[in-house]
């Protein structure tokens, strides 16, 4: 027995997340005001920084690419009822895969031949890193939230060890691999535009944003159009119904975690093969965690994830601008906003539902009384 009137679909999918994001920004505005700056001015700087000129747009989309990958990773796990907080570590280990294959073959293959191999390597390494928590969850009952957090630390320690002791360029003091040969790295967007005869400023934005969009399509098809997606959603909604239907939930948990990990691993395509052209320390820099906010805000749907990633990409880029323009505001404000978005879109996602439902009920009632 539900005691509420149902909301129309557009309000449920579109309006509620929008209101939640606005509330998050409103709260962030209060924080800005408390610091002593004008929130209105801050918003202007932020938007101008993110979208106002081609370099800003480039950076915004570059960040967006990472967030799409990690957002999709969180979403796939979420459909299976799993909360994968290990995107950070899976992306980091994915970087190891992408780095190794690029460094091994970069003088032999051009980028377009290397890209599919790098995608396979990155996803395999990410999947392998997610396999262990997935297996432990399914067959040993260790909660995936706890194990994925721990695996982030293990990944970090492992990569520090490898970068400092094994993969470091001989004679270098900096814990990173040698650079990948230029002909084997992904073309940057300004190079592509130049080829088309348009001149734009150089940014780290590269071809991998298209890989990210393809990944969105892949996830959409996987989750809603295949029997594996059917099984993933079924264990997410109702595990005992899955048992009834002859689906092995344990096996599906492991598979879902591995798909999730492989998507996170693709962050390395953008970072290692595209932007940084090497494996460096902590190249994921929080994208794995931002993916959680992205998936929450995007309601675990690829389309929503693209929009949410764009928002967070803009926040990261505009936030940097903000820190540059205002001496009192640091980049940490972005973290504050990110936290507020998680708070409003995740923890308080249903806070606005009650009032909205009452509003819609009142509106439909008054309509009927008129009619």
């Amino acid at each position: 027995m539900s005691r509420r009137t149902k909301l129309p679909a557009w309000a449920d999918i579109g309006l509620i997340p929008l209101i939640n994001v606005l509330l998050a920004f409103l709260s962030a505005g209060v924080v800005v005001a408390l610091i002593g700056e004008s929130p209105l001015e801050a918003v202007q700087v932020l938007i101008r920084g993110a979208f106002g000129y081609d370099e800003g747009v480039g950076y915004t989309l570059y960040y967006t690419t990472n967030f799409i990958f990690t957002g999709l990773a969180v979403a796939v796990a979420f459909h299976a009822g799993l909360f994968n907080i290990g995107g950070e570590g899976q992306a980091y280990i994915g970087g190891l895969g992408v780095g190794l294959i690029c460094l091994a073959l970069d003088h032999l293959l051009p980028w377009w031949a290397l890209l599919p191999l790098a995608i396979i390597a990155g996803s395999l390494f990410g999947a392998a890193w997610a396999f262990i928590p997935g297996y432990l969850q399914a067959y040993r009952g260790s909660h995936v939230v706890i194990t994925t957090i721990m695996f982030n630390f293990i990944a970090s320690a492992l990569m520090v060890y490898l970068l400092v002791n094994v993969l470091i360029q001989p004679g270098s003091m900096s814990p990173e691999t040698r650079a990948i040969a230029p002909e084997s790295t992904l073309p940057l967007m300004h190079e592509i535009f130049e080829f088309l005869g348009i001149k734009i400023t150089q940014t780290p934005l590269n071809l991998s944003i298209f890989v990210a969009l393809l990944a969105c399509l892949f996830v959409w098809v996987l989750i809603w159009k295949t029997r594996w997606g059917y099984a993933i959603r079924m264990i997410g909604f109702n595990e005992s119904a899955a048992v009834y239907s002859g689906i092995n939930p344990k096996r599906m948990v492991v598979i879902a975690m591995m798909i999730s990990g492989s998507l996170a691993g693709l962050v390395a395509i953008n970072e290692v093969m595209g932007a940084q052209e090497r494996v460096g320390l902590d190249f994921v820099s929080g994208a794995g965690f931002t993916g959680i906010a992205v998936a929450l805000m995007g309601r675990n749907h690829p389309l929503g994830i693209i929009i949410a990633s764009l928002l967070f990409g803009a926040l990261f880029q505009g936030g940097a601008e903000l820190a540059f323009e205002f001496s009192t505001i640091t980049r940490d404000l972005v973290v504050v906003i990110q936290g507020l978005v998680i708070l409003f879109c995740g923890a308080l996602a249903y806070m606005m539902r009650g009032p909205l439902e009452r509003l819609f009920a009142a509106l439909s009632r008054s309509n009927q009384e008129e009619g």
Partner: protein, 529 residues
């Protein structure tokens, strides 16, 4: 909200404890209550019957303050009142016992009753005061429960008594009981009815929401019948009959007994030999269970829920692993060494209508067509190389909906949006569509309307007549008796009775259901196969 003041000239303000006048409530386009009037005489047991979706629950929710009516008025003891939340309802002396108990399992009876009505910051002193007050209530109404027992350890009948005590502790003068007998044995039902009669004699008005017409006849003073949101009749119980009530509920004549020929059993299709099963805490759930089901017969498993029926269905369908004993399906043996997955068992020709469709049989968030392929999701007809064949899935669902008259026939609608009867019809259609050799049916008509019950029973009988072996697990004795050819009675994980349905009745089944508790011998009646 619009409050109309309706003065009924015939209204006598003293003799009615509750009056509802012209109550209207709609949800979007659905009119849940249309101009509903209800007058409950003080100190009477007033039954409200109707099919699922007839508006009984909405009406009670309005009375208990979950919803507010769009229009109409409520009078309690002759006073016009506005009930906007359940706190207000409780203040007015209205108490509600929900179908699914609202108890904290690991609290004691006393703690459960006091919860939410502590009355002071010190729990010790309020518990002390409550104990005294409850003692008085128990004495007055003859409701004996050990106040210090932990609720989870009480049998269901006593838990229900705790719910009633909870309401009386809050000084309820009007008690609403929503489907109170669903989980009780016939003996526990008798005890409940004795309690209700005592309450009645003490001046408490009882509103009984139910779909079991024989109970309405047995206990109530007045009956109101709802259909499609409207109150279609209010009659004195002594002046009506089950058949008349059923006809009022459905709007047409209804067959209460299943129309079927005598069974003509063929060869054994399902055989179970000394099946024993322990749960993870090593409590025996099934104890040396053996029986046979032959082609062309319907065997019913009767028993109070929680006596091993769920585990039996789980083992037969492959959802649980066999530990001891064996299952034979047309000569193919499943035992501890030869386990089979639900998928393999399905491929042997076993259909399984899950006992609890919300838990197993369907996924509420799935569209109907997705629910319609559960268990068959890997079949080649529904899959291309990579993608699911959505066209085939939709067509499949449409054809199931047609043959089983599922309404609305919309494959895209969320499974949870269908009424209980239509959900069940879809689940049964899915399992019967492949003409299984063995059909396992758990609670075939739980939460299903009378009209749909008739239909579901007919389908099960026609499957039997085509030569399938059917095993029906149900807690509704009436259903077991009218649908099945042979009845197995389960109690505490054992089969304690094996009788022909035509040679027994609810009373003797009820006795068997509780017999093993006193260590009685297995009851044998009629010819055993």
């Amino acid at each position: 909200m619009v409050t109309q003041t309706i003065q009924d000239p015939n209204r006598d303000p003293v003799s009615y404890s509750i009056q509802l006048a012209k109550i209207n409530k709609h949800f979007g386009a659905v009119k849940a209550n249309v101009d509903v009037d209800l007058n409950v005489v003080k100190g009477e047991i007033h039954a409200i019957v109707g099919e699922n979706g007839a508006g009984k629950s909405t009406l009670m929710s309005i009375l208990y303050g979950f919803y507010e009516a769009d229009s109409g008025s409520i009078y309690v003891d002759g006073e016009a009142v506005r009930i906007n939340d359940s706190k207000r309802a409780i203040e007015l002396g209205i108490g509600m016992v929900h179908q699914h108990f609202m108890l904290v399992d690991n609290f004691t009876v006393l703690e459960n009753i006091v919860l939410g009505a502590e009355g002071s910051w010190s729990l010790t002193s309020s518990l002390y005061k409550a104990r005294n007050k409850l003692q008085a209530i128990s004495d007055q109404y003859g409701l004996n429960v050990d106040l210090d027992a932990v609720v989870s350890q009480l049998p269901v009948g006593l838990q229900q008594r705790v719910e009633i005590l909870k309401a009386l502790y809050r000084d309820a003068k009007i008690l609403i009981l929503d489907e109170p007998t669903g989980v009780l044995t016939p003996q526990e039902v008798d005890q409940l009815f004795a309690i209700l009669k005592t309450l009645k004699s003490q001046g408490v008005s009882v509103l009984l929401i139910t779909h079991k017409l024989q109970e309405v006849i047995a206990i109530s003073d007045q009956v109101s019948v709802m259909r499609a949101g409207a109150m279609v009749a209010t009659v004195k119980t002594s002046e009506t009959s089950r058949e008349a009530l059923a006809e009022l509920m459905v709007g047409r004549k209804v067959l209460l007994r299943v129309d079927k020929h005598v069974a003509n059993p063929g060869k054994t299709l399902l055989q179970v030999d000394s099946l024993t099963w322990h749960d993870e805490t090593d409590v025996p759930r099934l104890d040396d269970v053996s029986f046979k089901v032959k082609a062309g017969e319907i065997v019913g498993v009767a028993g109070v829920s929680g006596n091993g029926q769920t585990e039996l269905l789980g083992l037969l369908s492959g959802m649980l692993d066999v530990q001891q004993g064996q299952i034979n399906i047309e000569g193919i043996c499943i035992d501890a060494q030869h386990q089979m997955t639900p998928k393999q068992i399905r491929h042997l020709g076993v259909g399984h209508v899950a006992e609890d469709r919300h838990r197993n049989g369907m996924v509420g968030a799935f569209s109907a067509e997705e629910t319609a392929i559960m268990g068959f999701q890997d079949e080649p007809e529904f899959n291309g190389k990579i993608l699911q064949n959505r066209l085939a899935i939709t067509e499949h669902c449409k054809s199931l909906m047609n043959t089983f008259d599922v309404r609305p026939a919309d494959p895209d609608l969320k499974s949870a949006s269908f009424s209980g009867g239509n959900q069940q019809k879809l689940c049964i259609a899915r399992e019967m569509n492949v003409s299984p050799k063995v059909l396992l049916v758990g609670q075939p008509t739980r939460g299903v309307d009378i009209g749909a019950i008739e239909f579901i029973h007919q389908q099960i009988v026609s499957l039997r007549d085509q030569g399938s072996a059917v095993l029906v697990v149900s807690v509704e004795l009436e259903e077991i008796l009218s649908l099945c050819d042979r009845v197995l009675v389960m109690s505490e994980g054992r089969i304690v009775g094996n009788v022909l349905a035509s040679e027994t009745d609810a009373r003797s089944l009820g006795l068997m259901m509780s017999s093993s508790r006193s260590g009685d011998q297995m009851v044998q009646q009629g010819s055993q196969s």
